[in-house]
């Protein structure tokens, strides 16, 4: 079929409109949500799929969420397969990895079919982190959980709205299971509204351009995504690459990546059995980790759709940490998924030229603080990822203070918002001055945040990785700095943690979070001395480290002492 210039413009308009609709759903969800983790952190995602659940377009937000929604929709279709079971105006909810939820129970997916001419032509879907879905601890996420039943209410791909009418009984069950029922209700309506906005806009598109054109546009868009991916595949080195890496837990993760002319195969079968605790990633979650690396490599500037991932295949072993059996707990799935993402990235980094930089701080650094607000007495919960440093690359230094590759258009919480909402004091919000990550192109800097607790009976939970095993370097750079948290008690004693659950903290205690620097790229002795002088001026490196690690000697005025530097560098 040949398409005229006008057809091309129509198809392009439909494709771009789908992107705009995903973004509009994103804005609608963000702007009406009640939980700060949704509207401020943007721990959320939106997408449109075709009638079968293949990803057609996705909104902004978190790359790790982009791949969730198509899998959720496919599972909803599978589990509601009776004729007539899916009807116009319905909205389905799911949060359980065995029912299409992919991540953990806090992330609730809402999905709505879009009907035209009596058939389903598309789905609109969104996912957002609800602050509390019940379970054994406030915020629902615990390092101590042993079974999914301890992590909150499981929502198994069931109808929440039927033919446009909310199903009160389901909503009441959901609310009564949460410690924060008002927030849950607000966030739920925000998600429902977002799905409906998307449905309305898609129907407008179908009315304007006709059903056939609309469906064709979706198909061609996915074919185009596949072409882009296959074209990129031809430019990659072919072969089999493997990596084994020890984790902070002592477990050893293994990956084999086989790149051929028409396939990108990630083999994860040879990995440890599933965790008895909550450190598991669902098979779909493991697939998403591989999808993210695949996008990084093949179409870093593009938007993902189902077609992009056709050349990607992932093998897992049921019963393993990357494909656990039913009953497993998943609360900390995100650290497992980001470790896997980092593992595949590291496995390929030194083989792919300048496509991949050195390792980043590489942890979500999920931080949970809760308790009574000192002024209102109302319960507050912070659920926040942290920013840290990215690794250096062949061309340049890594970014400082930015979310990991797992997150994306995600925002940190401003001190002014945190103090108002949570009643904590943010005593400090600074770049981390610890050494680490030196290189010809150095790693970006992590941060130090200090929360001063203002009421008794608060709790602190965290689960950071890249703690004992630091961010990895490339080509002779130095390792980055670790992620950890300190609790400075009101009495002055200091405790250090990477993983802790529901630690009691009280008025006057300070929770001090350190996030790591990215790994360095290249030998520090090759770094441009002027760059080292600038780093010293900006307090990114001490004079002593400038001399001992970079071999750059600076004068009292901060200028490069050329002769002394040449001598220190052994030339």
């Amino acid at each position: 079929m040949t398409t005229t210039a006008a057809d091309q413009i129509t198809l392009e308009i439909i494709q771009n409109s789908l992107q705009a609709i995903s973004d509009e759903m994103f804005a609608a969800l963000r702007k009406t949500a009640m939980s700060a983790i949704i509207y401020e952190v943007l721990d959320m995602g939106t997408a449109i799929t075709d009638g079968e659940g293949n990803l057609a377009s996705s909104g902004a937000g978190i790359p790790a969420f982009v791949g969730v929604l198509d899998k959720a929709v496919k599972r909803i279709i599978e589990l509601n397969a009776e004729p007539g079971e899916i009807a116009p105006g319905d909205i389905f909810a799911t949060n359980d990895p065995f029912y299409g939820g992919v991540t953990h129970l806090n992330d609730v997916v809402l999905a709505m079919p879009v009907f035209a001419d009596g058939g389903i032509v598309a789905w609109t879907a969104n996912i957002a982190h609800w602050n509390d879905v019940g379970g054994m601890v406030p915020g629902s996420i615990s390092n101590e959980a042993r079974e999914i039943y301890q992590e909150g209410l499981r929502i198994p791909a069931v109808k929440l709205v039927a033919g446009g009418e909310p199903i009160k009984s389901v909503m009441e069950i959901m609310k009564v299971n949460s410690r924060l029922p008002d927030f849950l209700q607000g966030d739920m309506w925000a998600g429902i509204a977002a799905a409906r906005v998307g449905e309305r806009r898609i129907l407008d598109l179908v009315a304007k351009y006709g059903l056939e054109t609309f469906v064709t546009a979706l198909d061609l868009f996915m074919d185009y995504g596949e072409q882009v991916a296959r074209h990129a595949l031809t430019g990659l080195p072919k072969g089999t690459f493997t990596l084994e890496e020890e984790q902070d837990s002592g477990a050893v993760y293994k990956v084999t990546v086989e790149i051929t002319d028409d396939e990108f195969l990630v083999d994860l079968r040879d990995n440890p059995d599933q965790d008895y605790g909550p450190n598991n990633a669902s098979r779909d979650g493991s697939l998403i980790a591989a999808q993210m690396v695949f996008m990084n490599i093949t179409d870093a500037h593009g938007a993902a759709n189902g077609g992009h991932f056709r050349p990607l295949r992932v093998l897992t072993r049921p019963g393993s940490i990357f494909d656990p059996n039913p009953g497993a707990a998943f609360a900390i799935y995100y650290e497992v998924e980001i470790r896997l993402y980092d593992l595949i990235w590291r496995c390929l980094a030194s083989h792919l030229g300048d496509r991949l930089p050195a390792g980043s701080f590489g942890s979500i650094c999920g931080t949970f603080i809760g308790g009574p607000h000192p002024d209102t007495g109302r319960h507050f919960t912070i659920v926040e990822p942290q920013v840290g440093g990215w690794g250096g690359s062949r061309e340049r230094d890594g970014n400082s203070a930015i979310f990991s590759g797992f997150h994306g258009d995600t925002f940190n919480c401003p001190a002014e918002v945190a103090e108002t909402r949570y009643g904590l004091y943010v005593d400090r919000l600074a770049l981390n001055d610890a050494p680490g990550g030196e290189g010809e192109h150095r790693g970006g800097k992590g941060i130090v945040v200090e929360y001063r607790v203002r009421s008794n009976g608060c709790f602190f939970t965290c689960a950071y990785t890249r703690n004992t095993h630091k961010p990895w370097a490339l080509e002779g750079g130095r390792e980055g700095a670790p992620n950890y948290a300190e609790v400075v008690r009101a009495g002055g004693s200091v405790e250090e943690y990477a993983v802790v659950t529901a630690l009691e903290v009280n008025e006057g205690d300070v929770i001090r979070i350190h996030t790591g620097h990215g790994g360095g790229y290249g030998d520090p002795l090759r770094r441009d001395p002027a760059a080292v002088a600038s780093d010293a001026l900006n307090d990114y490196v001490s004079l002593e480290d400038a001399r001992s690690l970079y071999g750059v000697v600076l004068t009292a005025a901060g200028e490069v002492d050329v002769d002394a530097t040449a001598k220190a560098r052994g030339r």
Binding site: A6, E12, I13, N16, S17, Q19, A20, I21, E24, A28, R30, K31, T32, A36, Y39, L42, A60, P63, V66, G186, W189, A193, R196, V197, R201, M292, N296, D299, A300, A303, A304, P357, R396, A401, I402, F403, G405, H407, G408, D409, T410, F411, N412, P414, A415, E416, V417, E419, T420, G423, V426, R428, L429, A430, L431, I447, L537, N538, D539, Y540
Partner: protein, 679 residues
């Protein structure tokens, strides 16, 4: 008393001046080369073309891009940033987000102030604005000493919670003023009285960085105008689309940062009203840049927050998408392919045909080679062009690609048109907006020459060329109102809010607004103040702005019920759901003081009898030489209909109507081009 209202728009290449004669109702436009070393020289050269004596001028308004250019070229002032102790790195940490989700080579935007130029000052407020620790005045004095020693020209002060209580920022500014002279001080709470320290800091750093440049420029312009006997107050266009006096603009220079192109957007609004076409895409193509803006349903597309090269700016601003494409865009080869722009030949040396030493071909040179520009009548005959230089420049580039000069020239035009069409798609198609539902308004010196081709590419059926297209942004500035915006935090649960307190707050804003308008020279009878309040459901973050009928409305019976109902309806309209019965809160009140400057309606032109001065030229369209009628716009009567190809010339622009399109002239003298399917 003078009889002219005058507007001045200084672009990268040309300075445009428009004068409206209040006695005759006629407009006149002048154009001069922008004089980068002394911009007022260009302004007065343009003025001299339309007005005999500055004493005849009753009102002046001005739009400028000097601040924006200083930012884009990173040639702003050296800024020292004072921040709250413990939070000095907030400006470098930023928000941690990135727009390109899968790009591991993404670069965070480079802050305007290096880490070494940020000074932490102790002194702390809590989230209610109450003092936890006093301001360290000694540290502020020490910072002042550093400013003097190291030659900082500006200081930005951004303390935590200053949006609630500005006392520490105000005191620090007072100390700096005692210690320093002639240093710009930007206070975050004045720039943007909103929470989120990073965005507020970024906004105030942007102000500190650009304000001295803008202020110096306005002062110089004011004094030059006085020197030349022009005594009426100067007005400056704001990014929001309203105007303020120059004195007021010097106080708040940031508001003028994007004021140049906004004149065009306001011109579109006026045009939408006059021509009864609510949806317009405006394309402004000058010498160096191509700006796209929209009017949807008769209203300008305005946002409350924007970012410049990734740095956030909290400020109401017309949504304008700009790319580097203009008559001066340079054509060159790269990797065996043809590229055009974004680099521009600028005003000096300018295109090869200007004969000022430029040897590389530009878009203007290509149009000249195709005969779409007549060298004898360009810019109303005020500028001499050298076609042989254009020929030579285009021919020698063509030789690299084995094309003759005409083929090369058409190639240059095709490439630049495709780039501009893509820029229009960015603001329309990519936002889910269908360009076919719009008419394309072409202005700027080069816009009307390219518009028909862009319309065809986008499936747009109609191109409108306003009168004085080369000076449309300047014309638009005459079509706007004086506008001053005020806001106050009013963070209360609606159910328990003291409505008498709200009424007195509105009364205060109302009198503040009227005073401000008075200071802008607006008579009381022409002033009005519009009030609104930001509302949301409790625990939501984002608000909707709901209009309040009058300052005393809150004390009237049923106010709360009325506002809650309006909010629910607005929420339902915007987001598709509402939650009647759920508690609602107020967040901030916003008042806009508007001074009516009496709208100017374009006069109708003669229906017939104009003397159609025409001649014919051979012009190249699609590789073919076509005999093409060339007419002088002054001779076109209302109702005239001419099939393309035809070229319409006037002082500030040239309109090209390709074969297959039809030109008509409406009652107001606007050129309407119906676009054929195949050019």
């Amino acid at each position: 008393m003078g009889r002219y209202r005058v507007s001045m728009d200084i672009g990268g290449t040309f300075t445009d001046v428009v004068a409206y004669d209040e006695e005759s109702g006629a407009y006149a436009a002048g154009k001069a080369s922008t004089t980068p070393n002394d911009l007022t020289e260009g302004v007065f050269a343009g003025l001299a073309q339309v007005i005999e004596s500055p004493a005849e001028i009753a009102f002046t308004v001005h739009g400028t891009t000097v601040g924006l250019n200083a930012f884009l070229q990173r040639k702003g002032e050296k800024v020292l940033l004072l921040a709250t102790e413990g939070a000095g790195d907030a400006y470098h940490i930023a928000r941690g987000n990135r727009l390109r989700l899968y790009d591991l080579h993404y670069r965070k935007p480079e802050p305007l102030v290096p880490r070494s130029d940020i000074v932490e000052i102790s002194g702390r407020l809590n989230y209610r604005g109450e003092e936890r620790a006093p301001l360290d005045e000694g540290a502020v004095r020490a910072a002042a000493a550093r400013v003097a020693e190291e030659g900082f020209g500006a200081v930005a002060i951004s303390f935590l919670f200053s949006y609630l209580n500005p006392a520490h920022e105000l005191r620090a500014a007072e100390i700096l003023q005692e210690e320093l002279d002639g240093v710009t001080i930007s206070l975050s709470h004045r720039v943007a009285r909103e929470w989120r320290e990073y965005e507020r800091t970024s906004s105030s750093v942007l102000e500190a960085y650009t304000a001295p440049v803008i202020r110096r420029y306005i002062e110089r312009l004011q004094s030059e105008m006085r020197d030349r006997g022009l005594s009426v107050p100067l007005h400056v266009m704001q990014s929001s689309g309203g105007v303020v006096t120059a004195d007021s603009a010097r106080e708040r220079p940031l508001q003028t940062l994007l004021s140049g192109p906004v004149g065009g957007t306001m011109g579109l609004v006026a045009l939408a009203r006059t021509l009864d076409r609510p949806n317009l895409i405006g394309v402004d193509m000058g010498g160096t840049s191509f700006d796209v803006s929209l009017v949807i349903g008769g209203k300008p597309d305005i946002t409350t927050e924007t970012s410049l090269e990734g740095l956030p700016l909290l400020m109401p601003i017309a949504n304008i998408h700009t790319i580097g494409a203009g008559g001066g865009s340079l054509a060159y080869t790269e990797a065996g392919g043809l590229r055009v722009g974004p680099e521009s030949a600028g005003a000096d040396p300018g295109p090869a045909c200007y004969g000022r030493g430029g040897t590389r071909p530009t878009v203007t040179d290509a149009n000249l080679v195709l005969n779409r520009i007549d060298p004898d009548t360009f810019a109303g005959g005020t500028m001499s062009l050298y076609p042989e230089h254009a020929q030579e420049a285009v021919r020698s580039l063509g030789a690299e690609l084995r094309l003759d000069a005409v083929e090369m020239a058409e190639g240059i035009i095709d490439v630049i048109n495709a780039k501009m069409a893509q820029a229009i798609r960015t603001l329309t198609v990519e936002q889910g907006i269908e360009p076919r539902d719009f008419a394309l308004v072409a202005f700027g010196g080069a816009g009307p020459m390219h518009a028909a081709f862009l319309a065809q590419e986008l499936g747009i059926g109609e191109v409108i060329v306003p009168r004085l297209p080369g000076a449309f942004s300047a014309w638009g500035m005459l079509e706007t109102e004086i506008r001053r915006d005020f806001s106050r935090t009013f963070f209360r649960r609606a159910g328990t809010a003291d409505l008498a307190e709200l009424a007195s707050l509105l009364a205060e804003l109302e009198s503040e607004g009227r005073e401000a308008l008075e200071a802008e020279g607006i008579p009381a009878g022409a002033c009005r103040v519009e009030h609104a309040i930001d509302m949301r459901y409790e625990a939501q973050e984002y608000t909707l702005t709901i209009p309040i009928d009058a300052a005393d409305a809150p004390v009237a019976e049923g106010f709360l019920e009325e506002m809650t109902q309006r909010f629910n309806a607005a929420h339902d309209f915007r987001y598709g759901h509402s939650n009647p019965g759920a508690p609602v809160e107020f967040v901030a009140v916003r008042s806009a003081a508007l001074g009516d400057l009496e709208r100017l309606e374009p006069e109708a032109i003669a229906a017939a009898g104009g003397d159609l001065r025409s001649r014919t030229h051979d012009v190249t369209f699609d590789r073919r030489r076509c005999e093409t009628m060339v007419v002088d716009r002054r001779g076109l009567a209302a109702g005239a209909t001419i099939p393309g190809p035809v070229i319409v010339e006037e002082g500030t622009a040239t309109t090209v109507v390709p074969p297959g399109c039809i030109l008509t002239v409406d009652a107001f003298g606007f050129l309407i081009v119906s676009i054929g399917k195949d050019l």
